[in-house]
Symmetry: C2
Subunit: 256 residues, 2 copies
């Protein structure tokens, strides 16, 4: 049976621990700086809780560091184990785990919130490992919890992380801009919900460049001018509008 | 019984004609420049087809001009009718229909494609009218086909149209950028599909500013720098990344 230790009790740690626990992985321990956080998650996955790294059992086959990027190297250097050590970051190099001879990355590509349930089997897991044995263990665990497991190199993983920032964080910000524009005129965000749902639903079966619509896509300069005029008192949104429109027009030109 | 004429046979005209027809509105005629286009849609909604504006019946209670923005005024000026005349544009002023004493706007807020089915009752319809009688007819027809009918003024409608460009066209372009980044490294767009679906699904019950995540939202300059480094050979995407990140950081600061 695969045994694991989870270091961290935040968004990623919580969802990962739960998914692994429900897939039959034995979670030996949960570590968090705060006792309450460690205990809360440990109770959910039938594990022991720790707040001192040096007291963690050293015999787990897999040690998952699921904490903020900037703290990974420090925690890795303090960790004593014979098992494989991985982090869950999209952008951090595997080399920050250099202290451990068998190391890897286990990056679940989704935006997690502790209290929002996730169908983990639909979350792609990107894995990377220092050696064949580590890779095999990561593959085994990843396949237990997800139906989309992808082996990548560091640079590829970082590119996926970057692409995800465009598709998730930046997209969400455009929703926020739209909300702000509506709110400024006493209009309800509800009006945009069907459009937002449809735009994302298209991506399940179409490529984005094949369904691009709007004034920039048809180089409709009259409408673009009217929109810029509507944004004349909001320079930051106007700049966004101009740059994204120019980018759409450039992409259309490259396709011809 | 309400009678209508649809001028146009493109994406909006087709979905609107079908929705009205299935809601019991009698479609008297479909006009298009090409006989084949007019006939194809007319056959679907049990109407006559026309390619000459001057031959259209003048007795329909509602005449809907659903064509490209730049052609609305010209067509409106050629139209002979005693009924109410509306266009379906998000951005065009109602005043381009000035030839007709009873006029309005009937703007369905969705991105339509002829061959992609739409649940029209979930499409918000924004209406605007020159007078009470016209407004009542538009309300009646809009409520037949949609459960979200909103009465707006011209400036408000234009703001909704602008917000929709951010939430739909610009968002789709960010998906395209993400796809391009992945493709450039031989990585599959499939990896992003669950994330895209989740990001949009969040909007059905949350406000975008409450679920903003990512390096810019937490002002994680290390990750931002690494991403900019990854984009060093793609200046246009780098500019997009910088401007959108700056906009996210500004918004976060304004909330504090």
């Amino acid at each position: 049976m695969t045994t694991a230790i989870i270091i961290g009790a935040g968004n990623v740690a919580t969802h990962l621990a739960l998914a692994m626990y429900h897939s039959g992985v034995k979670i030996l321990a949960i570590y968090a700086r705060k006792q309450q956080s460690a205990e809360k998650l440990a109770n959910k996955v039938d594990a022991k809780s720790f707040t001192d790294l040096s007291l963690l059992p050293g015999n787990a086959s897999l040690n998952i560091i699921a904490i903020s990027d900037s703290a990974i190297e420090l925690v890795s250097n303090k960790l004593q184990t014979n098992g494989i050590v991985v982090h869950t970051s999209g952008i951090t190099p595997m080399s920050v785990l250099a202290k451990h001879p068998r190391r890897g990355v286990f990056y679940p590509l989704q935006s997690f919130k502790v209290n929002v349930p996730v169908k983990f089997n639909e979350v792609p897991v990107l894995i990377e490992a220092s050696d064949e044995e580590a890779l095999n263990l990561l593959k085994k665990v990843a396949n237990l919890i997800s139906k989309q497991v992808v082996e990548v190199q560091t640079h590829e993983r970082q590119m996926v992380h970057l692409a995800a920032v465009f598709a998730n964080n930046f997209t969400n910000h455009l929703y926020a801009v739209a909300h702000d524009i509506l709110q400024g005129h006493g209009l309800s965000f509800d009006m945009l919900k069907p459009l937002i749902a449809q735009t994302a639903a298209n991506m399940q079966h179409q490529l984005p460049e094949n369904v691009q619509t709007g004034p920039a896509a048809r180089v409709d300069m009259d409408t673009i001018e009217m929109h810029l005029q509507l944004l004349r008192e909001h320079l930051p949104y106007r700049q966004l509008y101009e740059l994204i429109s120019a980018s759409i027009i450039e992409k259309q030109n490259n396709r011809k």
